[in-house]
Symmetry: C2
Subunit: 584 residues, 2 copies
């Protein structure tokens, strides 16, 4: 593969002009306004100092702009990945300790390396393990878990835990110690943010603003909440009254940081890094594809893997934590008119300016406001209707989704997703392990063969015709052995069995061994196996084994040919008469 | 389900007569002669006192006779399961200690409970996870590993290890301390057993014996080796010269034993118990089915699970260790004319008599003879040609088999099988994650639609017809999104996309979401999605979602109908002319 393939920026960069720059600049401004409070909040969610959220929104964005293929994806800290970061690190280190911060860098490093390796080794298909019901259940339950976890900031109490059974009793016990000024700030922020989310745009439009401007302005609602809260805290000296604030934030751009390079720790964090990478990739690709399709553009999964990998390596080396493409921010970026990843570069510049200029002003920002920001952001991820729809559509998928949700809520994020993935595979295996196998007979007056249980067809007593509606591979190889044994045991007059392979797209080595076993067992029972309607690629593969020489039967071009040869017209006619009572 | 279904013995027991009894009795005699040395040897292989092998050949056989459905399966200790028992227990307890013996009972108990649970919950399909290449690689590599492990008994040295990198250096270092009398006994046994295996039957036939008698007598070759070795050791007082012998074996039938009931230990042993259960079940069912088919009988996988479960529970309660149906012994049982599981009951009686009467005579049996018995038994499991055949037939299956073998040999049995299972699933997912998707066009003068790249067909510029040759489910749902995005991006004139679903047997919730996403993305790009040739069951399921109302397109009975509606004859004819250069 051409090395230029790995640098999509060479392509869009060549045609970059002032019009693009104006549009990207506007989008970047709006995304920056949205990203400042979010990055502070998600750092808090990840159990890290607020400034790391800002750091994670500078270099990663630049790295993604070089290697990513989506024109409009907005990379940075996101809620679910931040939650997964806390879940991976809190069992190992005290929250907020230097070791914790170093391990977060290591997690970003591992995640970046894994994503880059998946890009180079073309292992993006690994993300397929995360089926839609699992991802949907995971994100919904994570959102709920995050929201419950943020209640402590609104109540002004302390509580920690990775699941509802840990969190809820602690919150309940801490309730008497809640801080009413904090609660007031939290509830006001929550109400404002919620109202702004669902009403602000239409209200501004009613005041005469254009839809575009109203939409953009409404994205700044959290900034307004922050400013108002900071002013209130400063004027009323609420921090002295016990309202927890963000506190001193180091001023200036991030320096080069090196993660804790401890091999034992790296090995311990590897499973979490893999889950974070896959979940981040899936979330990012799905929003990226949706946005690209709207403009009939394309994104390349391998470039996305490399882009996200580079972003996480950037985060690891500049004091951040694991990042990925965020859903809501990307949509805002797109709606605001972003044309190229240069919008991300401008956003990084905006955040860079903020970290230089604004951080002293953020000292008095109450944690309750950040908690409210998170709650409003994540509750939109909770979609209980999704479970109902999945359940109604397919019981198996519904079980996988429900199990993922319960696992996340009751045990924790990592266990929950592993339960979901394991269960999807099990249920999938179970479902395909018993394929539909029909005994077929000839539709009178035609060359067609259909299911004897659904159609009035002619059966031939000495020839059993079976149609398998599935590829033959290890999940169902043994079932085939059993079913054929069963069918033959009940038909003592049968001398030939023809397997009609029109629905068989693949015969793997397990199924080949099963076919050999079946042929041998049939042989000892005095029945000869034949095949019909074998597809070209399957036939090519069978020729690479000695099955076709060994099994002693023939491969017929069609089921009709098979019957014509094995039960010639005269015998056939006789058997028709003999079996007329069977026809229905 | 009727409770009688779980007791197949009620059925065959009702018609049991003297003729059956005579045949079963003869078979039992031969199997007993074979089983005495094997059960001592496999107990040694499992790291347990020799008598436990005899114990594991009494109650388990009775339990299987009650619940099992195979007429001729010979249950008891087998090589691979004994190796898995050692592998599970040696990291935890000193070899041969009381704790080790207790843990072996616990392993049998867990294995029995798991098998019984799988029977009741109908989870036998779990065995499908073990594809043929994985099982074949696992058994072959285990056989080699066992053979290498037994060399220490032939050399009269000590060495321990769960993999070749552990075993080989130890054997090499111990070589100078080898005991030549032991080696002589070992090599003589090995030569005799090997010769007997390949030549004894034909030699006896040449001496005038019937094929049947010669075959039966040759099965007693290990007994002859044992008798000769015991006589030699006793006469020459070789045990005083340092030849390691079996030593004192407790006399009498096993009493009721209770496994170590330690919940923490049970949890630790659970994965090993699950692997032992699955491997034992697969080995047992495959030989059981092969033998049953020869007489047009049937075995029921659920009854087999219960039968093997009961056998292991029996082993746990009577001083044994995990057991299953043995391949070689079952074939001998069948060939010797066993008619019903009563042959197993007679065998149990034979072993019971042996443990009462013969054990004092076994004191001077050299361990080297048992080692030689094991080596000859397991080397027949090693089939290197199998790997070559699998590799030639399918690269993916070959990789899975090779990885399993290397894993077993270089790391250990459990890791090896887990690597194999994991890799099969990964490769399977990879293979089905990119299904064949063909752009199809109309074969001139017919209603058929075929691949544009293989046939000279007519394409319609405003309608893109796609045929997907695979069920749509989570492994390939996202690929479909990508491919369709790609195909549409390159065809700006397309207004309708028809997905021809003749090869689609299933649309799961993931694929449904993908279809919704695809329909939505196409919509924003000005293209309408339609379906054609959707199968009945798939259509039933789609009706349980609101996809059919939401996607805005139509479901056509055939691709031909779709084209007739979407590109009516007049426009169609015009487009034919316009696209004639494309036809080939």
């Amino acid at each position: 593969m051409n090395w230029r393939h790995w640098l999509p920026c060479l392509e869009w960069g060549r045609r970059y002009d002032r019009a693009n720059a104006a549009q990207d600049g506007l989008a970047a401004l709006i995304v920056t306004l949205m990203l400042v409070p979010q990055s502070l909040a998600y750092a808090m969610l990840a159990g890290l100092p607020p400034v790391t959220g800002l750091y994670a929104s500078i270099v990663p964005l630049l790295a993604y702009a070089l290697f990513g293929s989506s024109r409009t994806l907005a990379v940075g800290p996101v809620a679910v990945v931040s939650l997964m970061t806390t879940a991976a690190l809190t069992p190992l280190f005290p929250l907020g300790s230097a070791a914790y911060v170093g391990a977060a860098l290591l997690l970003a490093l591992l995640s970046g390396l894994l994503l880059a390796a998946m890009a180079v080794l073309r292992l993006g298909f690994l993300a397929n393990f995360l089926s839609h019901p699992v991802i949907s259940g995971f994100i919904g339950a994570s959102g709920l878990l995050i929201a419950v976890g943020q209640l402590k900031h609104l109540l002004g109490v302390t509580a920690a835990g990775e699941s509802l059974p840990q969190l809820l009793p602690q919150l309940w016990l801490a309730l008497p110690g809640m801080h009413w000024q904090t609660l007031l700030i939290g509830l006001l922020s929550l109400t404002w943010l919620w109202w702004a989310r669902i009403r602000l745009k239409s209200t501004l439009q009613r005041l005469g603003l254009s839809a575009q401007l109203a939409g953009n302005l409404s994205k700044a609602a959290p900034v307004l909440a922050i400013v108002a809260a900071i002013v209130a805290v400063t004027l009323l000296q609420l921090d002295r009254a016990g309202v927890k604030v963000v506190g001193a934030i180091p001023q200036g751009l991030p320096g080069l940081t090196l993660p804790t390079l401890d091999p034992a720790l790296a090995l311990q964090l590897l499973p979490a890094a893999l889950l974070i990478s896959l979940v981040g990739f899936v979330e990012s690709v799905s929003v990226g594809q949706t946005l690209a399709a709207k403009r009939r553009q394309r994104i390349q999964p391998n470039n996305e893997l490399l882009g996200l990998g580079a972003a996480n390596l950037g985060a690891a080396l500049s004091g951040g934590f694991p990042v990925t493409g965020g859903f809501a921010r990307s949509v805002v970026n797109y709606d605001a008119g972003a044309q190229t990843p240069m919008a991300g570069v401008f956003t990084a510049a905006g955040i860079g300016l903020s970290v230089i200029l604004l951080t002293p002003l953020l000292h008095n920002l109450p944690q309750a406001v950040l908690g409210a920001t998170i709650i409003v952001a994540v509750l939109s991820l909770v979609d209980l209707g999704s479970l109902r729809r999945t359940w109604r559509y397919s019981r198996q998928d519904g079980i996988a989704q429900l199990a993922t949700m319960l696992g996340v809520l009751l045990i924790g994020v990592e266990t929950g997703i592993l339960i979901g993935v394991g269960l999807s595979l099990l249920l999938f295996l179970w479902r395909t392990s018993q394929p539909h196998i029909a005994v077929v007979g000839q539709v009178p007056g035609s060359e067609h063969f259909r299911n004897v249980e659904r159609f009035a067809v002619i059966e031939t007593p000495s020839v059993l015709s079976l149609r398998v509606d599935e590829s033959l591979y290890f999940p169902n190889a043994r079932y085939l052995e059993e079913r054929i044994g069963e069918l033959i045991a009940g038909r003592p007059r049968v001398r030939h069995l023809v397997l009609m392979c029109s629905g068989v797209n693949l015969i793997d080595a397990s199924a080949l061994e099963s076919l050999e076993t079946i042929a041998e067992r049939l042989h000892t029972a005095g029945v000869q196996l034949h095949l019909s309607e074998v597809k070209g690629p399957v036939m090519d593969q069978l020729r690479r084994s000695d099955f076709l020489q060994q099994f002693g039967g023939q491969v017929f071009i069609s089921q009709f040919e098979a019957l014509k040869t094995l039960a010639p017209p005269r015998a056939h006619a006789a058997s028709q008469a003999g079996d007329e009572r069977k026809t229905r």
